[in-house]
Amino acid sequence: MSDTITKEQIFKPENIVYKKTDLMTDNVLSYCPGCGHGTTHRILMEVIDEMGLQSETIGIAPVGCSVLAYDFMNVDMQQAAHGRAPALATAIKRLLPNKTVFSYQGDGDLAAIGTAETIHACNRGENFTTIFINNGIYGMTGGQMAPTTLEGMKSSTSPYGREWHAMGHPLKMTELVARLPGTYYVTRQAVHTPAAVRKAKKAIRKAIELQQQKVGMTFVEVVSNCNSGWKMTPVNANKWMVENMFPFYPLGDIKVDGKLVKEV
């Protein structure tokens, strides 16, 4: 029938409103539906793509849910020992100062086992970008308490809720590194709504642009959900995140142009 539109007629360049970046591979994501990792991967790769940096980019995958980030990101990648991504990134950036280098780490990786490497890379003002996914829990190992687990929040190793006398306080790593002179841009973002995704992407773009100027550490936290670890549906997990995570981990810039813009 003449009035039927063929596939060829639809897939014209001028009709395409969205296309997956070539910097995301076709591998099926290993993340749970509703998890923020996939979206964060995508916007990070879109930024690298849009800036034309694929051939100059080296990424570091951590240990945790995103250990397989290299299956999905179509850039040269190294997989680090648990918590040590900042040490790898430091060496790469020192040896190859003009490359674009990012470490992609979760809260257990960055804020527990890798605390020393994180603090010292930030304090030395290493010129790479840290992407820090904070979902307040150890996802891959099955929902144990993380350094970022909120007070009262239940996990498999805090089954009656985190109680600070016994288990310590949740650690605000991003506020902590913002106070170090070596960090230049420190921000906290989220990817739970289209508006938040756009903002987070802008923040990542800014961080990568600043990295080209060699001004010091650029640090982007993404507060995310872990619906399987939190034992909630994706929708409820996002709702719970907005109501509980955001008051303790408020979104927005913390340090801009090397100056604190928020009391920390």
Binding site: Q54, S55, E56, T57, I58, I60, A61, V67, L68, Y70, M73, N74, V75, D76, M77, Q78, Q79, A80, A81, R84, A87, L88, A89, T90, A91, I92, R94, L95, L96, K99, A116, E117, H120
Partner: protein
């Protein structure tokens, strides 16, 4: 020149790209020498003092994964801390150089020389099935010479190489012949020579991934079999050793590093007394000179290993020597260095009077 300084100068001249380390006695002169020499001006080499040995070894991982010639140096407790990272380097097949100036242990032990890291470096040390190429210099000249050889072996086999020494050789001063400055590789040269290096994905190739992870057990086993094949190849091709007066010897001292130097004096004293002593010095502790020990053991009356430990290498010697002759161990610990006379006395008591 001191052994530690000769090592550091050799590193610059070998065209190394980066040193990452953390101060620990008795080898802090390595980083001090490098910092004072300003290698960033001489060759563009990076020298960075890291926040810990854990960070240092992982900096090696990052640099090595980019095809860069990188190294660290440390001493026993620091090496213990690095073991996780060393396992990752071996698993991910990354070349690098690790210098260990052994001290007495266990624990904080002492800063005096020791040789009790033999097990933790030749038998793995970290988790998983892997081997490190372990080279034991016994002079300041060898501290210099084995730097370039170690880098070459590391890149040839894509495996970490350890230069295993101790505080005595590090502090000892001897004359050294110094080689020419080798150029550092350019990024283009690295891309050409080491196509696996993560230097940025170009349109002409797939992305490079450096990892030791594979969750598929059959693929992970295949990777392990590949590593084992490589280790076998190293065992077949890279054994190094030195023999002194072994042709007519009745008794053989097997020793490496500082112990080998002291044993030379013991050999001289023994020979003056009419004891036909020879020395077999493994230069590579892994791969261990198995066949050579076997052959030698078939024509002598007894073997004594001299180590500054409770007896570690002696296990390998016993494993490969003929069962028809006694293989004994003599060692001092806690930073005490055995004297040549002690060693001769032990040989007399064990093999002559006994």
């Amino acid at each position: 020149m001191k052994g530690n300084e000769a090592f550091a100068e050799a590193v610059i001249r070998a065209g190394a790209d980066g040193y990452f380390g953390y101060p620990i006695t008795p080898q802090s002169e390595v980083m001090e020498y490098l910092m004072a020499e300003k290698p960033h001006e001489r060759t563009g080499m990076v020298v960075l003092q890291a926040e810990s040995e854990v960070a240092s070894i992982n900096m090696l991982y990052g640099g090595a994964a980019c095809g860069k010639k990188v190294l660290t140096s440390s001493s026993s407790p620091g090496i213990s801390l690095m073991q996780e990272g060393i396992s990752y380097l071996a698993g991910s097949e990354l070349p690098c150089l690790i210098m260990d100036a052994m001290r007495g242990g266990p624990g904080l032990g002492t800063i005096q020389p020791g040789q009790a890291d033999y097990f933790q470096l030749t038998k793995g040390g970290g988790h998983g099935d892997y081997n490190l190429i372990v080279i034991a210099p016994s002079s300041v000249q060898e501290m210099y010479d084995y730097v370039e050889i170690s880098f070459d072996l590391a890149f040839k086999y894509r495996n970490p190489v350890v230069v295993l020494t101790d505080g005595a050789i590090g502090q000892m001063m001897e004359k050294v012949y110094i080689g020419d400055q080798k150029p550092r590789l350019t990024e283009e040269e690295i891309r050409e020579k080491y196509p696996w290096a993560t230097l940025g994905k170009t349109p002409d190739r797939e992305r490079n991934i450096i990892t030791s992870l594979d969750l598929d057990p059959y693929r992970q086993e295949r990777h392990n079999l590949h590593l084992q094949k490589k280790f076998k190849e190293i065992e077949e091709n890279e054994v190094r050793y030195e023999e002194l007066n072994c042709e007519d010897a009745d008794f053989i001292i097997v020793a490496y590093g500082t112990s080998a130097r002291i044993s030379q004096k013991a050999m001289d004293i023994g020979r003056e007394k009419g004891l036909k002593i020879g020395i077999f010095r493994p230069i590579t502790l892994w791969p261990f000179p198995k066949k050579e020990i076997r052959a030698l053991s078939e024509k002598v009356k007894g073997i004594l290993t001299v180590e500054m430990s409770a007896g570690q290498m002696v296990e390998d010697v016993r494993l490969h020597a003929s069962e028809k002759i006694p293989v004994e161990h003599y060692g001092r610990m806690g930073g005490v260095i055995p004297t040549p006379n002690e060693i001769v006395e032990v040989i007399e008591n064990l093999f002559v009077k006994g």
